[in-house]
Symmetry: C2
């Protein structure tokens, strides 16, 4: 027997309470029992999304479905939108916008750069007819955190322009003040901060986004927001919901409410800082820039002379610790430690020790124990 | 404690082996372990769909997502399609086709009628430019079974016209010979014959449907078939799959292969016949016409003078047996007994006894035990 540790930025570990809730005998979705589940999930998500003004709708789909819903429900073909990209998921929003025939303008950044709110402000000044701005809050591919609070303040000045935020690895890991920051559409997926298996996605829709919906003529059906809103008023769903995952969500939201959203965000900040300090103490270089480091995932450069794929394989196959590799241009060049959702101090310690042992095996030179020592210091001081 | 029996046409009961497989600790979806799950699921579904020529693609969505995918992937705006309706789900295909701006022609039937293959042949003769024909094989709302074999033979003569079959409650309950009958696109959902919780949908795509795909210009992304096909070649998925449901599907397909698709279909025929004969012996009238009775669900008229909602409530609240009520015009007028998926002889017996007890309580006059007796006779004779 070997214990397995899933340290990836999604899927993330699922608490046993949630796993077992999903193994309960199947119930029908048009029953008082399940109506209560839908009601609790919708209310719990509003708490997690920190919103009272927006509706939070739930789809049986992965996060990409929610991303597509944002485009299909807010726009008409030919609408001018500004899509910012600094990683794989920003690129996906670009692809979806193009698939729907929008007039897509790009602000493209490298994977190690943050999106510039000033550049967005400049674009909107020059293009006041822009109908939407899209930003990935937390880039899973690069660990970069973009400042959606600053962008929200800018887009708010344009009454015809909605602000769409991919927060798939943001919600439940970093602060997302949907109402206060003016985030019109915010998306997440279940296999992230919500501590569930993949298969559910949620999207918040502000009053401004509902106005965009009324104007939108793009074809939609399964992801048609209004159908979900109408049914949610009766604590139900327009199409058969993913019953077992919803029952799981009901459980995980109980855990999240018990901990409190501020505490959850603080825990993620602590674990991320411990991971960063631990890696740096080993002489490793962090991938994300200082000005934009998220708390969901920590990408780290593989040191010179070390084979990144081998490193990830040794960690997994010898030590049972699964971290993610790099994507696209960064395959084999970076590894990514997820600490998003159901994670505690000793998951970080475990990962750092597995990393030390694997680096040693590959001939990398460092002071054994130094990574753990640095992390321990963070975990002690921050816990005070 | 009261034992609960879920006798609805979806969600349907999930075998404990499958429920527990889904409660296993989460694994990452880009691993050799999960690749094997994807491979087995894709192969197993081809077996269940009785196809070698078609690809079977799996979405994280409910069945409606697969229905939408058929429209978005096969057509261009303005394409002429013939949509047949004789129940709630045919109407949904009509709504989706309209949402995507197709030139929708309707062959509308009452909920107690079967779709006429001759009328389809006539329409195609008069409209040889038709790009698609849509038929609901097994109408969950009415229990009616439409003859898709006959329609397949007709549509096959039109090389530019694809035949789209909603078999959401057909697959795993009645015969679906995808290749032999010329069914170009066949859809199902997980919470039906596949014995899973809801949250997965599958769609088969024939070579003829792939030709339609190449021509199609409708916007699509999350349900874009080609993305799934491309990834399936590497035993993976374009977007994060519903990992726990896929692991469940892997288990349920093992159970289905062990029983054999012919035996599964024969079992459903037996259970449906026992249900029908049992109800008739109680003096109740079946809803679906003799020429088109499916084996997934048996809708039954509520007898004169009995309150249908009360009947369903007593069965559920007093006896723990959940059957479905009627939909739309038939709310309170019919009840529907599901026997689709994980069902055996004694589930039918249990339901008929609960029905007898509930009818007796409501003052309906009949010979107690007569329903069970008739069902027992079917179950014995057919089991020989």
């Amino acid at each position: 027997m070997r214990k397995e540790y899933l340290m990836t930025p999604g899927p993330t570990p699922v608490p046993s309470e949630v796993l077992l809730a999903q193994a309960r005998p199947m119930i029908h979705h048009r029953t008082a029992e399940f109506d209560a589940v839908v009601k609790n999930c919708a209310e719990g998500l509003k708490y997690v999304f920190q919103t009272e003004e927006s509706d939070v709708l739930i789809f049986a789909s992965s996060g990409t479905g929610a991303m597509e819903s944002a485009i299909a429900n807010c726009f008409c073909a030919g609408d001018k939108v500004l899509v910012t990209t600094n990683g794989k998921f920003g690129q996906r929003m670009q692809q979806i916008s193009k698939a729907y025939g929008l007039d897509v303008h790009l602000l493209e950044y490298g994977w190690q750069q943050v999106v510039s709110p000033a550049a967005i402000a400049e674009f909107l000044q020059a293009n006041p007819d822009t109908r939407g701005v899209v930003v990935t809050q937390s880039e899973t591919s690069s660990g970069v955190l973009n400042d959606v609070k600053a962008v929200g303040a800018i887009v708010r000045e344009y009454p015809e322009c909605v602000f769409i935020v991919d927060s798939i690895t943001g919600i439940g890991a970093v602060d997302v003040k949907t109402d206060e920051w003016g985030l019109d559409v915010v998306m997440t997926g279940s296999q992230k901060g919500l501590m569930l298996p993949p298969g559910l996605a949620a999207v918040s829709v502000s009053p401004k986004a509902w106005k965009a919906y009324e104007r939108s003529t793009l074809p939609k059906y399964y992801f048609d927001w209004k159908k979900y809103k109408k049914n949610l008023a009766d604590n139900t769903t327009p199409f058969t919901p993913a019953v077992s995952l919803m029952i799981g969500l009901n459980e995980s939201l109980k855990l999240m409410k018990a901990e409190g959203i501020e505490n959850i965000i603080a825990r993620h900040a602590r674990l991320a800082e411990a991971t960063r300090k631990g890696c740096e103490a080993l002489g490793l270089e962090l991938f994300a820039p200082v000005e934009g480091r998220g708390n969901a995932v920590t990408p780290v450069w593989v040191p010179e002379g070390i084979d990144g794929k081998k490193l990830v394989n040794i960690m997994k196959n010898k030590h049972g610790v699964t971290v993610a590799g790099g994507q696209d241009d960064y395959v084999g060049r970076i590894f990514r430690v997820g600490h998003l959702g159901y994670f505690g101090d000793f998951d970080i310690i475990t990962t750092l020790v597995a990393l030390e042992m694997s680096l040693a095996e590959l001939g990398y030179e460092f002071e054994p124990g130094s990574g753990v020592k640095a992390a321990e210091a963070v975990l002690m001081s921050e816990g005070e």
